[in-house]
């Protein structure tokens, strides 16, 4: 479904991604973790071309992301993305947030988009908030709306860029619950997160990054059992300590 081959990226002379290769199969849940500044957010943003990369190749459902001829809006409309800071549109109501992409990018009718949007809003347990503005919702609620918004596009895969790191601790679980449910339904997911509990519960594979490189790419059991690299062992011992 998603395949990265030898992807490298530079900001000027600073190399943020160094020869990254991995695969995410259909229905697979892959967690990407690593210390901050390791390039994991950049990597996931390369997958739907929010960040350009200079070397290598990324294929999403067979479409080459880096190819200048690729219709990027069309490709992106098929891949859902959830951001660290939610990025709901503050000047629109929750319902408008849910319908905008469906109407503008997929050409659905207002009625159809609304119906679909509200169904997903109900699924994340927020139907009662449909006419509110994002600013009136808590962080956890906003992130659930953001997930519903991404799902309303009927994506073939979902990308999560640290979806819980901007949340207050008591709101993390309501978001993770939605994500766990999604994973169990067989959604293809690539998740940048530090939530190792989530990784243990639903991930198939864990990727560990450091300094722009993929250092470890292993089955969940292997990764949590005995990480091969020392760097990953230190990282795990630090974040699993508490």
């Amino acid at each position: 479904m998603i395949s990265l081959k030898n992807v490298s990226k530079w900001y000027g002379s600073f190399q943020v991604l160094n020869d990254c290769s991995t695969e995410v199969a259909k229905g697979e849940v892959v967690v990407v973790c690593g210390p901050s500044g390791s390039g994991k957010s950049t990597l996931i943003k390369c997958v739907n071309a929010l960040e350009p990369f200079q070397k290598g190749e990324i294929l999403v459902d067979g479409v080459a992301v880096g190819d200048p001829k690729t219709n990027l809006p069309k490709l992106r409309s098929r891949v859902g993305m959830v951001f660290q800071h939610f990025e709901l549109f503050p000047h629109m109501t929750v319902t408008q947030n849910l319908t905008l992409g469906q109407v503008k990018a997929l050409g659905r009718s207002e009625t159809e988009a609304r119906e679909k949007g509200l169904k997903l809003l109900e699924r994340v347990g927020l139907l009662g908030h449909k006419d509110k503005y994002p600013g009136q919702l808590s962080g956890g609620q906003q992130q659930r709306v953001a997930i519903a918004r991404a799902l309303s596009m009927d994506p073939i895969a979902m990308l999560f860029d640290e979806p819980t790191s901007a949340l207050d601790p008591e709101m993390i679980n309501e978001v993770l619950d939605v994500m766990v449910e999604l994973a169990r339904e067989g959604m293809t997911m690539m998740v940048v997160t530090h939530e190792m509990g989530f990784a243990r519960k639903v991930a198939h594979r864990v990727i560990f990054m450091d300094a722009g490189r993929i250092i470890e790419d292993a089955k969940k059991e292997e990764f949590f059992g005995t990480p091969r690299s020392e760097r990953a062992q230190i990282f795990l011992s630090k974040i699993l300590h508490h």
Binding site: R76, E87, F89, K104
Partner: protein, 227 residues
């Protein structure tokens, strides 16, 4: 010779019906055109395409480096020839003080509105743009639906402040003998030798309008800041 209030009273209908109508219409047209053109310029300045951003940057810097009075003159005397050259006519085309003023102020103010809108666009977090793109929107849709509405809202007080300046600056059309509010007053002043009365009255009117508008902007700013 005392201060003659009567001349003001007698000339009121002319001053407002002719003069103020001209001034207000010119202000509103130049504001509308200037904001639209200025927003386009701002998008061009922020474009990743170097030639596009350089072109827009050159235009804005040029307009902001020339005195407005000069631009008004320049347009008034040159545009008829440029128009003739474009249409291929052998005679300079007749454009008139009114049209010339509308075009001049729109183009001049666009440079200032551009800088305001540019700051407004840049104030919108990068994530908002990403979020629009991630939903499959293209550049124009992302701009129209997400970035510009927010940028416009954030910048509304500054845009209106610029419009108050524009309202005052329109009095410069005096130099091309257009009958704006000041122009109308000047005509009466010279005809009746009532310069002190007329110019004092004009000053008071400009002050009342501009100051009330600036109070309105202040109020608006506080309201926007709350959210």
């Amino acid at each position: 010779m005392g201060f003659d209030f009567d001349v003001i009273e007698r000339s009121m209908p002319y001053l407002f019906r002719e003069g103020m109508t001209f001034t207000v219409t010119l202000t509103l047209l130049a504001m509308t055109g200037g904001v639209i053109f200025g927003t386009l310029l701002a998008m061009m300045r922020l474009s990743a395409l170097k030639p596009v951003s350089i072109l827009a940057g050159a235009y804005v810097n040029l307009m902001r480096s020339i005195p407005l009075l000069l631009v008004i003159f320049w347009f008034f005397f040159l545009v008829p020839y440029i128009g003739a050259w474009i249409t291929g006519s052998s005679q300079p085309i007749k454009i008139g003080a009114w049209m010339s003023a509308v075009i001049t102020f729109t183009m001049f103010e666009a440079a200032y509105y551009c800088e305001i809108m540019r700051a407004g666009i840049q104030s919108i977090a990068r994530g908002q743009v990403w979020s629009g793109y991630a939903l499959g929107l293209n550049y124009w849709q992302t701009m129209a639906q997400i970035v510009l509405p927010q940028a416009f809202r954030n910048m509304l007080p500054v845009l209106l402040t610029q419009t108050i300046i524009l309202f005052q600056d329109t009095s410069l059309v005096y130099v091309i003998s257009a009958t704006d509010f000041l122009g109308a007053a000047a005509k009466i002043a010279n005809r009746d030798y009532r310069l002190v009365e007329m110019y004092s009255f004009v000053a008071v009117v400009y002050f009342i309008i501009s100051y009330s508008l600036s109070l309105l902007v202040k109020h608006l700013q506080e309201r926007i800041a709350i959210r």
